[in-house]
Symmetry: C2
Subunit: 185 residues, 2 copies
DNA sequence: AAGTTTGTTAAGAAAAAATTTAACGTTGTG
DNA sequence: CACAACGTTAAATTTTTTCTTAACAAACTT
């Protein structure tokens, strides 16, 4: 229990953390955030809770930059605000369960994809179908419209499947098919 | 079959296509490409095949811009180069099967996430474990290291799960659990 | 073999995004 | 009630990314 040993140990812990932090930050572009936001999340990942000033100090960013980045992380449910009465100094906690972050992010993105594209398809398809059924229009044009309708029909199958994927992730049903691995004790 | 009718029909087809193109382009940020690249893909989606000049004309972009954007789309397997002997004018086809694009993109991204983070964990964890087992180090420091080890252990469970998800998407096994919807005929 | 067409690379310009400093509102504190 | 602390917004700067013009290399044509 000598002081020198302790200092060296602390250094090693920082080194180990830094490796993981860098990896997380680098792969977090998949979740649509900048490396800076990734670093913030990864830093919080190793802490129970932090406030903006602690993060600013740790990462050397300005306060507004922290503020906006943390908000982005909250929007994708990677970070939650911890409620604390009697003080204005908010603290934040990182979601440390990656199953949770996976679900939150991809479900919301996939849902958005389904909604936006299905909305467009629902508006576009009737227009095309009307042309297909209009016998006063040249055949080759009607054929083209028909091809497009077939394409949209096929795309709808995918969007429905994606909807079901979202549902099974949300409910946890997917873990019946792909069980979470056991913790080796 | 009069000319006026045909012209109006062509206009309507363009209008319908435009709706879908816009939606696809807008949601394609999920796949890490710019709106411009999204527009290119979405435009090709309605065509059998196109060459760079046709796209440039359609979208009013410069040739180098087309070239780089199409390359990006090829990298994520949304677009394939069509082999054609005897001419230098390459033509490209969009992958129209969204199940395919889903698989190509997410599997490759998830694999990258697993690899990078697992590599980091494999390097960082032994360092932490050494500290945990070092009895000459203060208890509170060892406790901290222990907490981090537990965190990394938990993350490994997720990465293993993600690996299996990739595998089941690649093999198509996932469709046993979540069948592709039937085409309504 | 010279000329033309096609696609890519290089360099510069334009556009977009992120970051910082400064100012502001809000809320707890003395 | 005035002051201080905290977080957000606004405006301006810097940085990064994207796009365009221009020059280039490769390969087909005649």
């Amino acid at each position: 229990m000598n002081k020198h040993k302790d200092e060296s140990a602390i250094e090693k812990i920082e080194e180990a953390k830094e490796m993981v932090i860098e990896a997380i930050a680098e792969t977090m572009d998949l979740y649509g955030v900048t490396p800076a936001a990734g670093r913030i999340y990864a830093t919080m990942y190793f802490e129970d809770h932090m406030n903006l000033d602690e993060m600013r100090e740790e990462l050397g960013m300005s306060k507004p930059s922290m503020s906006t980045n943390v908000r982005k992380l909250q929007q994708i449910d990677f970070v939650k605000k911890r409620f604390q009465r009697g003080t204005r100094k908010h603290t934040y906690t990182a979601e440390k369960d990656f199953f949770q972050t996976f679900m939150a992010y991809f479900c919301s993105m996939w849902e958005r994809e389904v909604k936006m594209n299905m909305d467009a398809v629902k508006k576009a398809e009737p227009i095309l179908i009307e042309i297909v059924n209009d016998e006063t229009v040249s055949n080759d044009i009607r054929e083209e419209a028909k091809k497009h309708v077939a394409l949209l029909e096929k795309s709808k199958l995918y969007y429905h499947w994606l909807e079901e994927l979202v549902e099974s992730v949300r409910t946890g049903e997917i873990y019946n098919f792909l069980p979470k691995p056991e913790e080796t004790k």
